[in-house]
């Protein structure tokens, strides 16, 4: 128990120093761009696949239910709503964590056990500024983008099933998707509130992923084995945090926008 309390304290200490290093000089801009590239390249393909199959399976599942009521024209609503609000952000975050989050923990963990982190410090460079901040900023930028990709592909996956298996027209499906997104209203006339909700989440998830992964990476001990351990811990902890925070964020967003 005491150990957990210490870890939580260390976690928030890291977070505090990280936030400070995001707003004070020096910045490592090139590292941010490089991390964005790493996250994007590593995750784009799996995010597309995740979105595609999620959209397809949503359409398929709901079709079974809706055919009974002759309500298959509402499939677009179901796919659109559940993807944009919930599955897009959460599944993207989980997939990116498995890929890029694990990569962050492993990379920093390896630097830690080979004393590269100490080398940075002896050269007067703050590891949080140099290693953690760029990953954090890159994740904040990339997760919403990847989520948009996942949402789009999922909606297209649903369209595919709707047209090929359920004999809906593309137009009918897309209109139904639009209707559900429009139903909670718009910000600045064109941006559906649903989408805003769907982008606040990945922002939070991206931050959680980067901080948690770097946290475990930086406290790696025990050589190569330790790196493996750190990576596993990073992925498991991030995944649980993402699911838990998703619940509470949803609650808050519902109160803010709907209630």
């Amino acid at each position: 128990m005491f150990g957990i309390a210490v870890s939580v304290h260390e976690y928030f200490t890291l977070l505090a120093r990280l936030l400070r290093s995001c707003v004070t000089r020096p910045f490592y801009r090139r590292d941010v761009v490089q991390q964005m590239d790493t996250i994007g390249v590593a995750s784009l393909f799996i995010v597309v696949l995740t979105g595609l199959f999620t959209g397809m399976v949503l359409a398929l599942q709901s079709a079974v239910e809706m055919e009974r009521f002759g309500a298959t024209i509402y499939i677009g609503r179901l796919v659109g709503a559940s993807t944009v609000r919930e599955l897009g952000p959460v599944l993207t975050a989980l997939m990116v964590t498995g890929r890029a989050g694990a990569g962050m923990a492993a990379a920093i963990g390896a630097m830690r056990v080979t004393e590269q982190v100490d080398a940075l410090r002896t050269m007067g460079v703050d590891p949080i500024r140099k290693l953690v901040a760029p990953r954090f900023l890159a994740a904040l930028i990339m997760l919403p983008l990847l989520t948009i990709v996942a949402d789009l592909v999922a909606i297209l996956g649903g369209l595919l099933i709707a047209v090929v298996k359920l004999d809906l027209t593309a137009e009918l499906y897309m209109r139904s998707v639009y209707e559900t997104l429009a139903q909670t209203g718009f910000v600045l006339r064109y941006i559906p509130i649903d989408l805003i909700q769907g982008l606040v989440k990945p922002l939070a998830f991206g931050g959680i992923m980067a901080v948690t992964s770097c946290f475990y990476g930086l406290r790696t001990t025990g050589g190569t084995e330790g790196v493996g351990r750190a990576t596993t811990q990073a992925v498991v902890t991030t995944s649980i945090l993402v699911l838990a925070v998703d619940y509470f964020l949803t609650q808050i967003l519902i109160v803010l926008f709907v209630g």
Binding site: Q116, M123, G124
Partner: protein
């Protein structure tokens, strides 16, 4: 919130406000520390990790142009001594003086200034594996000097030649593409690129074959001869120590059980020293 230097994520330049205030207070109360000719000095230093009392009162010193070899079995705290000198750790009690300054009294803002006086060669070389040789060696210069690209390139060439590497061959190679001996040379080049008067080596020859070991030893001798640096070399290789040391210290159970010249060590009657040497 106070920052523990024992925390691996510690930030050299953080807590600026807090620390600056602390520094001002220090300036007001500071007394000039007694001058000693030693560039690195430890006085009755104690350090424990929990129940693990690693150092139980260590006293030693090294001056310019001297090479102190710290010998001892694995896990006795040799690397810990180096980490103390670098102020990656603070002692529980006692003093660690670098150029006469007590590292415990150095604020987190000034620590950079302190570390610029030192170069460290880590046990596994600790080259940044995402950067090529040039970027590794140039790293301290880009971070902390206003030197232009050309001056930096020139300096990198200079130090790589000093460690007997051909800059044109290795400049664009990644650490993974180098042999262990070459990696060590690059690490030495990186440690000396900003011309520090104090060099620290953590087991510079461990894991190297006898021939490479000899060339690295030669390099450490050359550093003393030509740059007259003050070096602290941690090693468990007695033959290396015999070649490079001007002073030796043998560490056991958290204490220095022998301190003297290599000649004195080899003629010592102490039974542990004899066992260690055999």
């Amino acid at each position: 919130m106070t920052e523990s230097p024992n925390d691996p994520t510690r930030d050299g330049a953080a807590f600026a406000e807090e620390v600056r205030a602390e520094a001002r207070r220090e300036l007001e109360t500071a007394t000039t520390p007694e001058r000693s000719s030693d560039l690195v000095e430890l006085r009755d230093v104690r350090l424990s990790f929990g129940d693990n009392h690693v150092l139980n009162g260590i006293t030693m010193g090294v001056g310019a142009g001297q090479t102190l070899c710290i010998l001892g079995g694995s896990g006795v705290g040799k690397s810990t001594v180096l980490r103390l000198i670098l102020r990656l750790l603070l002692p529980d009690s006692g003093e660690v003086l670098v150029e006469g300054r007590d590292i415990s009294a150095v604020s987190n803002v000034d620590v950079l200034e302190l570390r610029e006086r030192m170069g460290m060669v880590f046990q596994g070389s600790a080259l940044f594996d995402s950067l090529d040789v040039f970027d590794n060696v140039a790293f301290p210069l880009y971070e902390h000097t206003g030197m232009g690209d050309e001056a930096i390139m020139e300096r990198v060439h200079e130090v790589l030649s000093f460690v007997d590497l051909d800059p044109d061959d290795v400049l664009r190679l990644l650490p993974a593409e180098l042999s262990g001996g070459m990696r060590k040379r690059v690490a030495i080049a990186r440690a000396i690129v900003h011309k520090p008067p104090i060099l620290l080596f953590d087991e510079p020859t461990s894991g190297l074959d006898p021939i490479t070991t000899r060339t690295i030893d030669e390099l450490i001798l050359k550093l003393r001869r030509e740059l007259s640096v003050c070096a602290v070399v941690v090693t468990h290789d007695i033959r290396s120590a015999a070649r490079i040391a001007t002073e030796t210290a043998l560490l056991k159970d958290g204490q220095i059980i022998f301190n003297g010249t290599p000649e004195e060590m080899f003629s010592s009657e102490d039974s542990y020293v004899r066992t260690f040497l055999s």
